[in-house]
Each structure stands twice: as structure tokens, then as C-alpha cells.
Subunit: 483 residues, 2 copies
Amino acid sequence: MGWGDLGAFGEPSKETPNLDQMASEGMLFLDFYTANPLCSPSRAALLTGRLPVRNGFYTTNAHARNAYTPQDIVGGIPDSELLLPELLKKAGYINKIIGKWHLGHRPQFHPLKHGFDEWFGSPNCHFGPFDNRALPNIPVYRDWEMIGRYYEDFKIDLKTGEANLTQIYLQEALDFISKQQASQQPFFLYWAIDATHAPVYASKQFLGTSQRGLYGDAVREIDDSIGKILKHLQKLGISENTFVFFTSDNGAALISAPKQGGSNGRFLCGKQTTFEGGMREPAIAWWPGHIPAGGVSHQLGNVMDLFTTSLSLAGLEPPSDRQIDGIDLLPAILQGKLIDRPIFYYRGNEMMAVRVGLYKAHYWTWSNSWEEYSKGIDFCPGQNVSGVTTHTQEEHTTLPLLFHLGRDPGEKYPLSFASDEYQRVMERISVTVQQHKATMVPGQPQLNVCDKAVMNWSPPGCEKLGKCLKPPKSDPKKCFWPH
Amino acid sequence: MGWGDLGAFGEPSKETPNLDQMASEGMLFLDFYTANPLCSPSRAALLTGRLPVRNGFYTTNAHARNAYTPQDIVGGIPDSELLLPELLKKAGYINKIIGKWHLGHRPQFHPLKHGFDEWFGSPNCHFGPFDNRALPNIPVYRDWEMIGRYYEDFKIDLKTGEANLTQIYLQEALDFISKQQASQQPFFLYWAIDATHAPVYASKQFLGTSQRGLYGDAVREIDDSIGKILKHLQKLGISENTFVFFTSDNGAALISAPKQGGSNGRFLCGKQTTFEGGMREPAIAWWPGHIPAGGVSHQLGNVMDLFTTSLSLAGLEPPSDRQIDGIDLLPAILQGKLIDRPIFYYRGNEMMAVRVGLYKAHYWTWSNSWEEYSKGIDFCPGQNVSGVTTHTQEEHTTLPLLFHLGRDPGEKYPLSFASDEYQRVMERISVTVQQHKATMVPGQPQLNVCDKAVMNWSPPGCEKLGKCLKPPKSDPKKCFWPH
């Protein structure tokens, strides 16, 4: 989802009454970011509180490349990383992930080996259908074992867009919450639905209900489901004891527009880029009785903050043996404080840009290559800012392109290098960047090596289902990451 | 102002608490339009309920050109047009205009000759300062007479952007409302402030208060003033008897960005164009006790509807001797009905586009000429949709470019001519367009002739102030309208 996909964020069809109400009962974050402009690294950052370049969710195969966890990826979340559920366990929390994991699909990366107690969902994205020869269909797990595969046992109709997965995920969530309330045990639910990721899907009852087409149908179903989850918490009488946060893992994928793509509002470009459209996210905090209703925050926030904030809510300290990038948002949420902190925009292991206050400095610009662009892959459809949305990797490290995101949220008008404002602001930003780079210890890159042998050929449980496939011989290679 | 300038419409700084509250207490219109992508014709349409091509506020000097009322314009609102205040008078209303008139500045076009009982404001835009030789400074009138001129007597500091005009306009509004309440007489107040038009200005207390720069300061001051007007109505106990509507006369002028330009959200281009950014407007209806709080309407609306709706509120019928384009919005506002009606997008006397339901068909496309564009005049900065934002006037009358504004609010993806959807929708739209064109009787064009002799050299009252200037000899010429 993109920043502009909710009515509360100005989507012109205004079809998200439940999320809009969540915002009016809670707090809207207008300057909230993801840690990376695409899925896997962003989710790894959320669960570790650390930038992907630290937790290993990046590639060094080529300069400034986005990478994720397709089926042939060899890497995944390292054992050395401490995940939020692992830590929450110490405070007696029961942890469940529903939906897309995306932190590696080989046995050692299984979410139940990294702090989760329960899982219903898939390790990879619901691409497909695959042919089970070159590519197996993606498995759906219940806890330790596969219980079926997408397209085979969990239908997604690519022609009509019909799939009832969000309803299944919703029921899983309601049941888990009921169970935890009944046993009076604190819980962490990571509800990672993926209906708005192409191929976009929605249940029959939502198909055709949106002005926005299939993508809008999916948004409506998610919106409706979140309304039901919040009402369930209220009905169970635990809403004042449950902190809920809504956000997304990257900006809307504009390459899927207009049929399956969302909206980044007036921000520049989309998913895969380090422009605002790629990384600024819709975000809402909800906690009746604690968060003042109708609050709006300009706190610079990041998905990594959910790690630190959740620990704080559980009365835990973040690990002190490693660099944690997430901050505790509770002072911003509960006392309306504004904490001064930068936002870093990475592509691979390259710091492309940084935001400090209302200013954003681009040290590198790139949309995608001419080669990709000429094939019709366009991360900025209909947008073209000369010298900014470049199709070659442009280095600006000696003289960064500086934007004022208040006057110019669309990143169209770089400040003049000769202006006093440029000089003054860049002095401040340079210090921030120097500190960041001086103390940066990159983790072992996890997204460099691909091997068809590691695909989901025979996930645990496949025997019972008669769904084991024979893996090919191992042939590890450098993964190819085009953008 | 543009569609995206209010928090309620997704402006990322969310700095319009009063307008946002007005929306939450009233009804937000998401699909509301102006009748023309610039000032004078749009205002003439609002006050007559008729398209500019009917009421004469257009030019035929060149094909598809925008025109307005600069100081040397010879034309203005014809006597044959019936203005809203003229009609409201019959129902005992006292009518006041505060701010920019823009329907002609020669004596016969004076607002008090067209139904208004009171006027405080100026006939033209607050451009300047002029030199009083080639161009006189714009007069400010109180009722029949000039009481000073912009820059001379009503200061606008072009360097700092400071001017206290909005405060003066606010006080005028509050005083007028108090007076009408005291005398128990119904009133129509047309509060036509212009602080967001370049050169943008704000009062000292608002300067530097916005994240968005000077433009944002001006928006904040307008927002604050509207809050004060609404509170005043409530304090006087007449809010449940007063219908208030907020909207704008054209999309944000992106050529004034980033320092003095507003936001059209995710819509394409801005002022001067017939893309959504040029003509879709923020709009809020407020009438406590009548309009359900927090309502949202997808009714296709137009500033011309305010003519018909206001008459309806006053128990009057619109004139039956002429074509009225505005419709009565009360069924949409009070009963949530959706009235099927088209929106026409004109440039001069050319129908460039039409919207029917969620579809918009472009019969002509043009942003501006290559000649202007090469000089840096860009109505679509950072935006470029191939074959759509054209720099030559492109005719599509035989095969219009069709967009679905729900799936594609940004007008980036024309539907395939070969699709069933295209065929089906264009059949319906063609009938609408044929009916419109068959019955169209254009008015006498008022914006064709310019003459320096008609400028504001010696407005009534100039003698008392010693501010009469000597007009040059009359030399009428065709006005030059470049876009």
C-alpha cells in the first residue's frame, strides 16, 4: 500500500471508512517511513529494529540494488539477529504471524525458530501459479508444516482476482485474539496480509465494490477486516490494553497501475525507489483510552520503531549489544513530543538519501536503468523530474540534491546549491551522515546467492499431502538484481 | 487553491484544522469542479449558474484559449446576465461581496450594479505594484468608490509576503454578519479572498508558521479566518440558519511552485489546464442541524451549482428564460442522493473534455505551447504523460482519449480504443456531448478586446483621494491570450 491509499490520506474515492475511523479514534502519522522500498528488507527491519544493511537483508552483487527473498534465495534471517517475538517471549507474550513472512524459507529461517509461537501463512509472496517443475507453487504453512500450496489448495483466480485469503487471515486473527483473551495471556499478533500485492485479489463479496477497480476491492477488504479486528478487541473488552499499529512495507507499486497499483498520493515515484513515493507510508496508531482521539503526528517514524516501541510497551529494554535503529515512539504518541532523528533511505548497501527535519538530501539518484525503462518498467509513470528521476545511477555525494519536503513534498525543486539555506542545512545533514557512516558495521549480506535447489520443493508436511517435489542438483549462483 | 491543499484532502502537512473540522461537521465533496481552469470565467459561472461560454466570459481570439479580466479588458459581465444576488434580492436578501470581483472593472460592471448591496475589495487581481504610468495600481473599493490602491494604501510587501488583507476581509465579514443578524435580515456573503494567488501574502502573525512556506502561511490564515467566521455564526445563534460552502475558483497554479504554489494532490497538472488538477476543487458544505456531520459525497458538483442551490435555499426558482447549467445540490447534501449529470471542461469556447460518471473523455488535449514551455512556463511541472499533456493542441474528437477516474485519478492510462469498455462508455458519452453541442448558444464573447484606456486610471472616488490618473487615448486591440 502507498501513502495515498487511505481516505484519511486523501485517496479521492475515500473508501476506507474503518481505517479512517481508526485514525479519528487514534493518531495519524504523516511522516512515517519504511526502512526499505521493498518487502523482505522492510519486514526484516520491522522485526529486528535494525536497518537491512545491519541485519543482512541486502545484496552486494551490484551497486545500490533492491533485493528480496524469491524462491531460489539461499539466505534469510540470521540466527544472530534478535527478533521482536523472541524478546517479547521473555515478558510472557504469545506471538503469532499471520500472512507473509518473507524472511527466508529454508528450515533455519522458519518463523517458529525466530520467536513466533504460531504461524499461518506463506514464506514467500503469492506469485504464480508456478509449474512445479522449474518453480514449485508457494506453500502455505500452519505452524511447522505446509498444509497446501497457493493456486493448488488455496485458490487465487488470476482472471477474476477472486481469492478468499484475506477472509481466512481475518478469521485466524479473530480466533487467535479470542484464544489469548480467554487464557488471559499477553499477545503479539503480526497480521501481514498481502492482498494488495500483485497479483491483487479480493473475496467475492468485495469484488467490483470499489471505484478503484480490483486494487480498490482489495483495499476495501483489508479495511473491512481491520474494522472487524478492532471491534473484536472492543467486544472482548481488551481494546484499552491492546496497542494496534497499521502501516505498510513499501510504497505502492506503480508498475502494477492502473489495474493493480495503488497510490502514493502526490509523492514522487513508487516502490523500488528512494523517493518519497517509495518509502513514505500510511501509518495509524490506535489505543483507546491512551492515545488522544484524532491526534496527528509529524514525528519522523519508521517501521523499525515498532520494534522498540513494542518492547517499551511490554516493559522491556532493546538489546544493548548491537545497534538498534528504531526508537521508542511512545513519547510522540502519548505526550505529543517530537523526537529529532534522521530517516535513511537505502538501496542495497548504498545510502541513497537522508531526511533530517523537513529536509531531504539525495546522495544518489536512480529510478531504474534505461535498459529496464525501455522495456516498459517504469517506477515513476507520468512523472519525470529532470536530474532527479534519473535512469542512470547519479552520484551527488559531494553536492547532494536538497529538497524541502514541506514546500515541495513531490521532490521537484532542488534547492539552489548557492543558497544560504542549502549551505546551512547541508552542514547539519553532513554531520548526521558522517556519524551514521562512521559507526556503520554492515551485516553479512543474505541476499547475494540464489540456488534453484533451495526452493519450496519439499517443505515439512509435504509427505502427508503427497506434495513433495524433487529438488534439482544444487547450483548456487549470484542472484541477479536488476534495480 | 487546489484540491490537495487541505488536510481533509490529504495535504501532508495537515495544517487546516478549521476547514478539516468544517468537513467533519459538514459534508466533503470529493468530485467537485470549477467551471473553468481560471479565475474570472469561473467566478462569472458561479454567480450566473451558467458556463462561461454562455455568459460571455470567454474569448474567440484564438482556439481554446483561457482569458480573464486584466486591467485593459474592455468587457465584463453583461447586463443581460442575471446574477445570484440580483435574484436573492427578490427574497429580501442583503448581498455583500468581500474581496476579488473579477467580472469587469468598468462602471457598468460594478458589483453594486449587478445585485450586490455592499462591496469591499478590488475589481482585479492584486498583481503589482504597477507604475501608475503604463499600469495603474489596482483600486480597492468600499461600495461605489475607490478608497485606495493596492501597494499604495493597502500594503503588500513582495519581499516578505506580509499583507494584512485577509484580516481586513475577515473583519468585514464578521461585521457584516453581525449587522445582518442584528437587523434580522437574510444575507448572502460572497467572501472572495485571494491570499493564495501569487503574489501570495499573509499577515505578520501567520508568516513563517507553515511547513509549506509562504503559500502555506496564506492557507493557514484563510483556514483560521474561516474558523472564526463559523464560530461567529454559532455565537450569534444563526449557524443552523446559515448555509456555508467552501470552494475555490481553479486548481493550484503550479507555475508558482514551490514558493507560491499550492497542491492539486495526485491530480494531473494545474490551473490553466482541463486536466483534473486544473479544475477539481476542494469543497465543503456546512449547515449544522441540517447536513449530517462527517458526510462525504461523490456527487459530481460544480461552482455553478451554488447558484441554483442558493436560490433553492431561498425558496426561489432559477430563471426559466435561459439555459442554467448549475443544479440544485440539496438532494445530494440533505438526502445523500446522487444526481447523474456531466461535467464539461472548457478552454475558451472549446469543449476540451467531459466527465460522465467515473469516466472522462478528452476531445482536445493541450497543456501549453512549446513556445511558452521553452520559456519555462510549465503547467504540469514534473509530470509528463505521453500523448496527454501535449504541447500542441491535439484533436481527439473522432476518437476521444478516455480515462477511468476511479482506477486512474491521475489521467495517466487512456483506455484502449479497442476495448469493450471504451466502446460502451463512449456511446453513452457521445450522446451527452451531442445534446450539449446541439443546444449550445454561445454568449457574446466579453474577453476579446483590450484597451489601455479602460484601465483603473480614475475610478469613482479618485478625486477625493487625489488619485486620479490620466488615461491614454483609446486604442482597442484584440487581447493576446497565449494559453
